[in-house]
Amino acid sequence: MIEVLTSFALNTVQDKGRVGVRRFGVSTSGVMDPLALTVGNTLLGNDENAACIEVQTFPFRIRFTIDCAFAVTGADCMARLGEVSLPPWWCAQAKAGDVLQLNAPKRGARGYITFRGGLDLPLILGSRSTHLRSGFGGFEGRPLMAGDALPLCSAAAPTEGRVGFGAEPPDIAIPAPVDGKALQVRALRAGEYDLFPTAMQDLFWSTLWKIGMQSDRGGYRLAGPKLLLPEPVEMRSHGVVPGVIQVPPAGEPIVQMSDANTAGGYPKIAAVVQADLWRLGQAKPGSFVTFKGVSYREAVAAMDPVENYLARVGTTSALYRAL
């Protein structure tokens, strides 16, 4: 068991999310930083979709009631196992009774804890992710609270392997272009891009957008100049996916994230490319972001460094585990 000792708002159990049930109105949920989940599981030799705890409010503390290998990835939360500091993107062995604490990161927004074998929670519509708005999935369909006891998949755990090693964090392995202090993410034009006047299109690409304080797993509000259309555009309700940037009539763009509704009806100016969604998932409210327009071909090619990185982590982790 994993016992939650300290948890503030909105820390949840997540995996990669629900696939194939959008047609029933069910959004994917799932981790905001999929690289952190994949690497956290890869280090331990888990299935890469094993459920983890996503921590976005700090400090967060758990106690292990049994011996258990685990990993901490995502933002550097200066994790401590008892009195021992852990490097970021690291796997380690906890003994029964050990307490793991994650602290507020200086950079990045979300830390991830994976466990050897994963968390033993029921699959709901094919996933263990918490669907907060509907109250199902994860642990009792809700954020974690002090006193919760999360079962571990001990029976299904992979054979024991060595721990005490780490992976190169992806923001070092795959450096992002930085525009001054702002994160730069790549984006593709979306369906209504051409309806915006050239001046508004230019404004979208040139603005240093501030991620508004009312931003969460559902979406990021972008504070900056207003992106206005010459006349209102009525869209019929249609499917949207994480990364899409919609512009409501007031002109303040919103980037949809993991918990976003399955449908939207606002004009879409652009969509963040898949390869950069994890970076955006680590952007804090109050930080700045700029968008760089890319072609479809460039957007697809942008996944290559990510996949190469994951492959490298997979190979080295397997070697270390076998030592």
């Binding site: 047609r23 029933f24 999935g137 309700s237 990364g243 509704n261 399955t262 449908a263």
Partner: protein, 232 residues
């Protein structure tokens, strides 16, 4: 031959409009039916969804209101070729009947949960009883399930009881609220802020995450609201 073509030309022109196809990031494509909303265009969307959902690399086909979003496992290599295939299919779709099931939903109209009924009556210049009579007398078609789990976008609301969405949503509107939003009606599935107007409440569960068929309503189903009780 020439005369035959001339005779056919106007007909071809009306059906030959292409859908609009645009990408949403690297893994999704939106196909929008041309022209106004019609139930015929909506059923073409359902037919398109049935076929493309079995295409390789298509993870899911998600119907919206006269549109369809495709989600892919991997970024498609050739968007142009894929778009052309979708356009060609659009013009050669087999007919799909509206052959969904009929769902009857008992409603407690008015009362505590239907707190916007007086406002709807005032705005439409009808009595509250007339609003209820018109709403419960209609037959509705489920266009799409979207927005929240199991929430059906219902087509077929009588224009006499159209009611614009609120500019300030009601906080914590109860799950089960029977609502009117613009030219649409629906049953709220989760308790949450909601900009639609509540005229009643239904106890019938709309969504069960533990079921393989989690949503009571599916695209193409017919819905009738039956007066269970009126509380004025």
């Amino acid at each position: 031959m020439l005369t035959d073509h001339a005779a056919l030309a106007p007909f071809i022109a009306t059906i030959a409009k292409d859908p609009k196809i645009s990408s949403i990031g690297t893994l999704a494509l939106l196909v929008e039916a041309p022209g106004e909303f019609t139930i015929e265009q909506q059923s073409r969307i359902w037919a398109l969804a049935d076929i493309v959902s079995s295409w390789p690399n298509v993870q899911e086909a998600v119907p919206g209101v006269t549109n369809l979003m495709l989600i892919f496992d991997q970024p498609p290599e050739a968007l142009d070729g894929l778009s052309a295939a979708i356009v060609e299919l659009w013009h050669n779709l087999p007919c799909r009947d509206i052959s969904g099931k009929l769902i009857e939903i008992p409603v407690i109209y008015g009362g505590e949960a239907g707190f916007d009924l007086p406002a709807v009556a005032a705005r439409t210049r009808l009595s509250e009883r007339d609003v209820i009579r018109i709403h419960s007398g209609g037959e509705y078609t489920v266009c799409a399930i979207a927005s929240s789990p199991g929430f059906g976008y219902l087509h077929g609301l009588d224009p006499r009881i159209f009611m614009p969405r609120k500019s300030v949503p009601s906080l914590n509107m109860r799950a089960g609220s029977v609502t009117i939003g613009g030219m649409q009606t629906g049953v709220a599935v989760v308790t949450s802020p909601n900009g639609w107007n509540a005229i009643g409440w239904a106890s019938l569960p709309m969504f069960d995450p533990l079921s393989d068929n989690p949503s009571l309503m599916l695209p193409g189903d017919q819905v009738k609201f039956r007066i269970d009780r009126i509380e004025l």
